[in-house]
Symmetry: C2
Amino acid sequence: MTLYFITGNKNKFLEVKKLLPEIEQLCLDLPEIQEIDPREIIRYKLLEALKHRDGEFIIEDTSLYFKCLNGLPGPLIKWFIKTIGVDGLARLVEALGDDRAEARTIIGYAKSKNEVYFFEGSVKGRIVSPRGEERFDWDRIFQPEGYNKTFAEMTIEEKNKISMRSIAIRKLKEFLES
Amino acid sequence: MTLYFITGNKNKFLEVKKLLPEIEQLCLDLPEIQEIDPREIIRYKLLEALKHRDGEFIIEDTSLYFKCLNGLPGPLIKWFIKTIGVDGLARLVEALGDDRAEARTIIGYAKSKNEVYFFEGSVKGRIVSPRGEERFDWDRIFQPEGYNKTFAEMTIEEKNKISMRSIAIRKLKEFLES
């Protein structure tokens, strides 16, 4: 059975495919519910996908949590980027005076509605003024703990070694192989 | 045909019923999609409701827009309240240095999937430190333009005279009567 990664984001797909070559991209426009817990957002989408067709599916969510906002933006990060942009996010954190943040990827995997599993990876860091090239949304303002580069200043290979997304994918890979 | 107000919020239901006595409350747990445009959130819910049963339905959304956040929180206000609370919202606005805000109610009405109408009411104001009794979520930090009381310091009658919700309901009422 084919393993489909449901995403409209080509960059995410390619990043995941590097670590999990067997996946295929599937573009399905699934409703994204309002939730602060990404597992609920992912679960809802997986169950919707299973209503449409049989198969094995994975869905990914990467959220960004600010200490100064007690967990916001979390999975609502894309709305923050749409409204105030990454520059606005950096200024917001500066105004509130606590730059600690955590980036967290959750991958949901399902092959039936009773078999939904989650795999998580997270990286702690700080929010800084934008540096590096524009790639993924907020890579320019996230500097992982122990590094003096933002994600956007690293090569894809450097980032993949430590990123929350690759940690989650490695866990999924172990699960699929066992 | 009965006109159902779909909401789980008893306070909202009673506030609306005062102005629109014919409505009945219907509790349906409909998916709330992630959107910055409340019309899309409401439309999705109305169409879901119509899949389940025939009828005339209204759904209400009240959003709060901050100038300093370029439109956030908007319809995502409930997540801001869950994470940082109204006190946190007031501090955030203070840190960013621009207290202008707008409260906006949108009521969606549908009796079939091709007949969906929207009615809007809005009130400009400022975000202040919490004052008044706890009632609706953020009434204690919203002070409408031209008043020196927050919504929470007003009586229900005072608030209903000027609120974004009653403006939207009056528009709906005119539509239903014409």
